[in-house]
Assembly symmetry: C3
C-alpha cells in the first residue's frame, strides 16, 4: 500500500464525514445519511471513470474503499455531536482529500492519453463532483457555484502538475507541489474569504 | 421468454405507471410525463450497466422494454382518473418490481465478478435509482431519503440472495426467497408505518 | 473539416451562450458560469456516448470543442449586457444547434447498430440533455417539461431522418430534411405559442 493510496483513503474518509454531516443536517434517516456519504466520497471518481471508459468503476474493484466509507459514516453518526466542534481537522482532511483526489484524477486522465486541458478538467471533476451530487440530492444549488474558491484551487493544482511534469520535474516532487498548491489556495481563500467575481 | 423476464417486464410496467402518476401530479405535458415514466423504469438498470461497463445499456438492446413502457404510460394517461383509486394493485406491482429489479441487479453484478457487498449495492441501485432520478427531475428531495423502508428492503433481499447462494441453495429457491424478503419487509413497513431512525 | 462538423461547432457555441446566460441570471461566479456553459454544450453528447459505450466520450478527444465553448462563454461574460437584446440570433443559433445535435445523435446511434426507435431517442437525448442538466444544476424544474415544443421537434426530426434513409434518399438530403423539420417545428411552435396538452 503506497503513501498516496493511504492518503487517498484519508481523503475518502473526510469526504464521507462531510457528506454524513450534510445528511444529518437535512434530517435524513440512517440509510439516507449513508447514501449521501457514499455519493460524496465516490461521486468524483465515478464520473471520471465513466467519462474515460475505465469500467467497472474503480471503487467497485477496490478492497478497502467501501469499508472505509461505511465505518467513517457510522462513526460520524455515533459521534456527530462531539465532532461538530472539530471544524479545523475536518477542514484540513477535506482540503487534503480535495488535493489528492484532484491529482489522482489528473494522473488517470494522463494515463488514458488525453489532452492536458482535459486532464485538468478530469482532475477537477474528480475533486469536486462528489460535493456537487451531494448538493443536488439534498436539493440545494451546489455550494461550489455560490461560495469560496474551491474548483479554482483544483484547476490551479492540475495546471501545476501538468506544467511541472512537462518540465521534467520528478514525479513525487510534482505531486507534492500540486497538492500543496491546492491546499494553499484553498486555505488562503477560506482564511481571507476570497471569492471569484460575479457578473453583477 | 423466461418467467423472470416476464416478471421483470411487469415490474417495468408498474414503475412506468408510478412515474406517469408523479408527472401528471406535477402538471407536466405529455412529453414530460412520458420522459418521467421512462426514467423511473430504466433509471436503475441504466446506472447499473454503466457502473459495470456493460454498454450499450441493456434496455437499448431489448426487444420489448421500450414498447412496454410506452404503452403502460399511454394507458396511465388515458385512464389515470380511474386508476387513482387502484392504490393496492399499484403498490403490489411496485413492490414486485422492486424485488425483481433488485435481484436482476445482484445477478448481473455477480456475473461481472464483483465482490458480494458491491453486488448488494448494485442490486439496491437497480431497484431504487429510477425513483431517485424521478424525484430529482421533479425537484423534490428524493422520497427514498425521507419516508418508509425502501432501500433497506432491497439491501436485506440482496443479502438473503448472496447468503443463500453461498450456502449452495438452488438458484430458483434463492430467487424466490430474496424477492419474498423484499416484498415482505416493504409490505410490513408500509402496513405498520415503520421507518428508519433519524439522527435527531 | 466538414460542413456538418462546422455547424455542430456553431450549435456548440450557441448552447454555451445559452448556458452562460442562465448562469449569469442566477448570479453564479465566473467558474459557475463556465461550468454551466460547458454542461449545457456537452451534456447531451456525453450521455449519448456513455449509453452507447463509446468511451472516452467524444468531446474529450476532439481538438476544438473545449476551446470553442471556453471562448464563447468568455465572450458572453464580457458582452452579455449588449447581447441581451440579441434574442433573435440567439434563438436561431440555438435552434440550428438543436437540429444538428439531434441528427448527429441519430447518426452515431445508427452506426452503433441500434434499433430505429432507440436511435430517435438517442438523438433527442443528444439535443435536449444539456439543457435538462443545466436546469437541474440551477435547481429549476427542467424547462423542457414545462413550456414550448422542444423535444417533440427532435423526435419528429429523428423520425424524418430514419424514414428518409430507409426510403433510400441521399444522405445529405436526408440530413437537410431532418434538420429543417426540427427548426421549422420549433420556430412555428414558438411563433404561435404552441404547447403539448397537459393532463389537467
Amino acid at each position: 500500500m503506497t503513501i498516496t493510496y493511504l492518503l487517498e483513503l484519508l481523503g475518502c474518509v473526510s469526504f464521507a464525514i462531510s457528506g454524513a454531516f450534510a445528511g444529518i443536517q437535512k434530517r435524513l434517516d440512517v440509510f439516507g445519511v449513508l447514501t449521501i456519504a457514499f455519493v460524496t466520497s465516490i461521486g468524483g471518481g465515478t464520473v471520471r471513470d465513466i467519462l474515460i471508459g475505465e469500467l467497472p468503476v474503480s471503487w467497485m474493484m477496490d478492497k478497502y474503499y467501501s469499508a472505509v466509507i461505511f465505518f467513517s459514516t457510522i462513526a460520524t453518526m455515533l459521534f456527530w455531536k462531539q465532532l461538530k466542534s472539530f471544524k479545523l481537522p475536518l477542514f484540513i482532511f477535506d482540503t487534503i482529500g480535495l488535493g489528492l483526489f484532484t491529482i489522482v484524477g489528473v494522473q488517470k486522465a494522463l494515463a488514458a492519453g488525453l489532452k492536458p486541458e482535459i486532464c485538468v478538467a478530469l482532475g477537477t471533476i474528480t475533486g469536486c463532483f462528489g460535493g456537487i451530487t451531494r448538493d443536488i440530492l439534498l436539493n440545494n444549488i451546489p455550494l461550489i457555484f455560490r461560495k469560496e474558491i474551491y474548483a479554482t484551487a483544483c484547476i490551479a493544482g492540475g495546471l501545476v502538475y501538468i506544467t511541472s511534469l512537462q518540465m521534467g520535474v520528478d514525479i513525487n516532487i510534482t505531486r507534492l507541489c500540486a497538492v500543496s498548491t491546492i491546499c494553499f489556495i484553498r486555505i488562503v481563500a477560506v482564511r481571507y474569504k476570497l471569492t471569484l467575481p460575479r457578473m453583477y
